[in-house]
Symmetry: C2
Subunit: 100 residues, 2 copies
């Protein structure tokens, strides 16, 4: 299983639009093959800074997702809103352990 | 390396207090040995629903953290605010791959 964490920060004047865009991306991506989880959230200590949390069945599924035209369009839309620090890192992850 | 994801939802009347409490927990936990990352965020599509994202050097470091008196107090404070669905799962994770 793959866990991916993305971060980005919105220019103040576009924060509302970024919230809407990220929500649209999340709703579309959850329909894709191999996507177990796609959650977009705003960091409490840093309003306007966002976290994208993804779980995929495999790295292949994530790469298939990344190659979709809609993803390129979403990244272009992110850039058009003045976001310059989009970063995504992925990890191969083992079976989950329930802590609480 | 360990990645942990926690989720919880706040009763509407306590959402503001939960935001403050989670921020305090994050600031304290980041000082602990082995804690690489501790971010608290609010899910865009579900206001009042929160995500806790943690990276630890090892499961041992995470368990040392969980055994601290302050963590028991934090969990008690979470429950005192009417939160009944706190859930945390942890994964052993490999080296990061930069996607973007």
């Amino acid at each position: 299983m793959i866990i991916s964490h993305g971060t980005l920060s919105a220019p103040t004047e576009h924060t509302g639009q970024v919230r809407v865009l990220l929500t649209q991306i999340a709703q579309a991506t959850r329909q894709e093959r191999g996507c177990q989880l796609y959650v977009v959230s705003e960091i409490l200590e840093r309003p306007g800074h966002f976290l994208i949390t993804e779980h995929w069945d495999s790295m292949q599924d994530m790469h298939t997702h990344l190659a979709l035209p809609g993803v390129g369009e979403a990244v272009a839309a992110v850039h058009a809103l003045g976001i310059t620090d989009l970063s995504i890192i992925a990890f191969e992850a083992g079976a989950p352990t329930k802590i609480m």
